[in-house]
Point group: D2
Amino acid sequence: MPCTAEHREGYVPHYNIRTDLALEAQEIIKSQSDAEIPGVASETVREDGITVTRIKVENEAAAQQLGKAPGHYITLEAPGMRSPNTDLQDRLTEVLARELRQFLPLPANLAETVLVVGLGNWNVTPDALGPKVIEDLLVTRHAFEMRTNTLGEGFRSVCALSPGVLGITGIETGEIIQALVQRVKPALVIAIDALAASRLERLHTTIQIADTGINPGSGVGNHRLGVTRQTIGVPVVAIGVPTVVDASTIVGAAMNAMINAFKREAAGMEGLGLHLERLDWNERQILIREVLEPYAGGRLMVTPKEIDSFIDDISLTIAAGINAALHPKVQSAGAGKYLQ
Amino acid sequence: MPCTAEHREGYVPHYNIRTDLALEAQEIIKSQSDAEIPGVASETVREDGITVTRIKVENEAAAQQLGKAPGHYITLEAPGMRSPNTDLQDRLTEVLARELRQFLPLPANLAETVLVVGLGNWNVTPDALGPKVIEDLLVTRHAFEMRTNTLGEGFRSVCALSPGVLGITGIETGEIIQALVQRVKPALVIAIDALAASRLERLHTTIQIADTGINPGSGVGNHRLGVTRQTIGVPVVAIGVPTVVDASTIVGAAMNAMINAFKREAAGMEGLGLHLERLDWNERQILIREVLEPYAGGRLMVTPKEIDSFIDDISLTIAAGINAALHPKVQSAGAGKYLQ
Amino acid sequence: MPCTAEHREGYVPHYNIRTDLALEAQEIIKSQSDAEIPGVASETVREDGITVTRIKVENEAAAQQLGKAPGHYITLEAPGMRSPNTDLQDRLTEVLARELRQFLPLPANLAETVLVVGLGNWNVTPDALGPKVIEDLLVTRHAFEMRTNTLGEGFRSVCALSPGVLGITGIETGEIIQALVQRVKPALVIAIDALAASRLERLHTTIQIADTGINPGSGVGNHRLGVTRQTIGVPVVAIGVPTVVDASTIVGAAMNAMINAFKREAAGMEGLGLHLERLDWNERQILIREVLEPYAGGRLMVTPKEIDSFIDDISLTIAAGINAALHPKVQSAGAGKYLQ
Amino acid sequence: MPCTAEHREGYVPHYNIRTDLALEAQEIIKSQSDAEIPGVASETVREDGITVTRIKVENEAAAQQLGKAPGHYITLEAPGMRSPNTDLQDRLTEVLARELRQFLPLPANLAETVLVVGLGNWNVTPDALGPKVIEDLLVTRHAFEMRTNTLGEGFRSVCALSPGVLGITGIETGEIIQALVQRVKPALVIAIDALAASRLERLHTTIQIADTGINPGSGVGNHRLGVTRQTIGVPVVAIGVPTVVDASTIVGAAMNAMINAFKREAAGMEGLGLHLERLDWNERQILIREVLEPYAGGRLMVTPKEIDSFIDDISLTIAAGINAALHPKVQSAGAGKYLQ
């Protein structure tokens, strides 16, 4: 997928709103025209506080329109997660484990290994999701390799790595994963990453699972190389949680709110409508840049003050969901078990 | 200082822009009228890449206008700190040590203890400044108490605490400090805290020293109780670094940029100027709230992705500056020494 | 309790073996004489992989003999915890919660606060137990203070602090706790600390609960000031887990093994028995010091390489047990819930 | 090099004392016979508080005797490091940088990359040396790859990784490094690791540099796969610091002390000498195992309580030394600069 000005990963083309969620890309386009988007199929199921949306981006044209690679996207939304709620967290863990079991192309042979990579920077709280999930994962490959079989029946070979970010390693995350895949030869790669959403209400409440891998420009850390079936030769499932909104998205939303307020105020004013139309996306982008320019050094993120407890909670949920999805024994014992 | 709707700490009254920097409060008011602000004296010295501004808020009227308590504020600005520059960092450490020595009401008797408190949440990177400074501080009170004198001459009695935040302790930071002051009876309290600025270019480049202590509503963590000479009975000097901008400040700035763009576009349009005037602060506040409302859970902060390495650098600078200011022996050895 | 050469906390007098466990002190004395120790009552219950021993040190004479303050000591031993076992961990959490409910002098009024302090150094893995438990605790005092009552019914007022160690603060842990108790006026203090055992098999498998508080010289960090009902005026319950064995204990055990080997080898050798008797405790202490002297800087600890995962597991268990014991609502939801 | 019972890495054959330092292996053998060891050349230089020893293990026979692979070993000893001493720390950084510049087979072309790997477990304080050094390293490879050249002249391409330990990844460290070497194709690998010493006085005071790479069984974490020129095809220089002594070494030392005491006591006793001789290494090993057996789960390490501040200090020293050795610009600016 070429990365053109009009098609930067994470951005919905023509709308210039950054989101790593297929669900939001779809929302944004639909908000402008109520018609279905050709080549995008979606279904939504609500169950007991959790909304599960399954989106299929069926072809390249649809991918171009959404700014999301062709493939399958599952989104779990649980708005109740905003306030601590252990019952909902348990249910979310179970739903996640169930969806992963159906979604992951798991090899029948438990000895074929699954590699889980935790993307992101462990030193920056909203970007630490991946490394935190890795710390709570049940890894077992070494027991298979050493044939000690101390684990007993019902476990799958699982290995994991948190490669760290470019500023610490000097190596692209994608290079490290490619290198490891060539050596470890996993049947499947699962990549965990913190994402950017376009809407604040998605922070703390949403998990996205996608079989499209990690695409350049996505994630809080803005990956430069892709990690996809095309680049590494094995299926790559990405699990992500939005933990930040881009500052440019918030600034854009603020400008929209202002324009709408003007429209209300100026109702009946000859000519103003015209001016509002003229202030098109390009000009707006220039304005957004003007506002954010003074901080020259890289991207600015908007994140809540309470980011730490959220990251802790959702990391446990995801680790427990993956453990239950991968290891038959953990599944039967109940998700949430065997957290190391 | 009463905390009224018009006088919330951190906010410049009538402008509704949040900043913990006296320098910025002064800038904001001056940007509207070029006249000097009555009761506010300031002088600026530039030296080799570092700008030192000394502001005195002389009376309660000036304090009301600025939204900053009466007292002395020193701001060190080093825009070059944005890119790694070890020479500038060394100079900044030295200037900080020098300013602190002149500013701190240090007791002549080295055995009278100074208590340094590191405010903020060590689990949230942009709020971790205080606890990180504490980890690099040279504490010595226990050597004085045990009369072992293993340290030798030239050291002052220094003790330190990072109390942690309300969500971890269930106790207001101010209560913990008050309790400790009553027990330890320091001659001086120094409080380190991460701050909110109103302008993005201040992130990573600015240190504020103030003899007004910690005021309710200030800091990234939004303290509820004040820690000031009035509340704890000993002088309180606050050292702070802006690490975030409030999301509401960015949204406000975006709206301003929009209004200015409209003004340019609509030049000559009868009546529009009037409408723009009408969209006053109250309405604008409502708009800002509308934009940020979807994230109900507390304050949103804007912070750069590279916050981790910045916090590491500036924490070392501040710890080295405090060590050199407090301990005569460290001063003579050169700031930067005796980092534990 | 005076701290004489013969009565250093943590050491069993006359045996010079360091242990923070009353259970081990009793074992050591009993190993020499099978008679009951006057003034020490104990009972042991075994239930499903967990051994619960309740010891009462009834008077000062017994305390002198054991090197443990008069009071009640409960020890939970679960040797199966050495290998990961989530079922056993769940049972241990429940037994701990049950024992705490019976043992803790909890105020009837849920609004009277309980202060939990996490002793030890978060930067040294085997000493980080206390701070780690605090991070997983459900603190609520601020909700009571603000009368927001967002928590709903069934919660007790709980607050917490990890004061940090002398090398970071320059203040004795005991001073910080005393100061906080005077301010917060809790009905009860619970202190969590990493302990030293005398026997390696106790590491990773044992929890001690005692109503005697924290005594000088105890803990991995070797507290200098006591935190007991006598010193702070409210009941102090200590919860501890042995995470290290003192190097001097291991060296002493090695010498014992050597002596026993000699005795076997030298059976029948005229005179050797006499020599072995002569090599008494004082000489042995000198030998132990000779072996450990080259490391002049403080105490050496023996700890397993896998200390990190153990500390993580047992911290969760203890936090879950305390949460369930303190908050009626958590108890009814099942221990392990409401981990923040 | 085959790993036989008589030749386990880290153990000096026939003496069964574990050490990762060639210097100590040589000492142990020399302590028994004053003659030079054939095939081992060494020279010692003392300079201003630092002792530099250069040992060459010239052939396989010498390697067998020492239990150290053939190659060059440099040891820096600075006993004064035990107490904080910033002047000595500066000198040590400079000597380390100088020795590394002479020792490292650095490519003339600054664009050929050097890979630095930080071995060990970041969650276990005495094993965290490698990961801590990596955090303070100046990595630059990404600037070379992107041809942005934002760094300017005088920097070498450097990349880094802390792979984490088997219990977290399920993958041997050696496998991860091999995979990365095949991808990144460095001209040189530098591996940082925490080591085991045989003598307590070496903790906190010693740095070893060796061109023999990482051998199986070495390090606090006991690597299973080797990382050497033979296994990965490029030169591997290992930099290590002893942070622990094996519990078995301490137990052995205790038994030696006991035997010596007996010898003194029993002077003149007919027959005892004979018995002491009989208690040979095999029996002693059985005794050591008896003492340590109760802790079944892996290796026990002896480490000082203050391990945290030591690890922090020495990590900074090593990172500064490597930065100055690798980057000409850092060298000219003074070691200790450009710590990120």
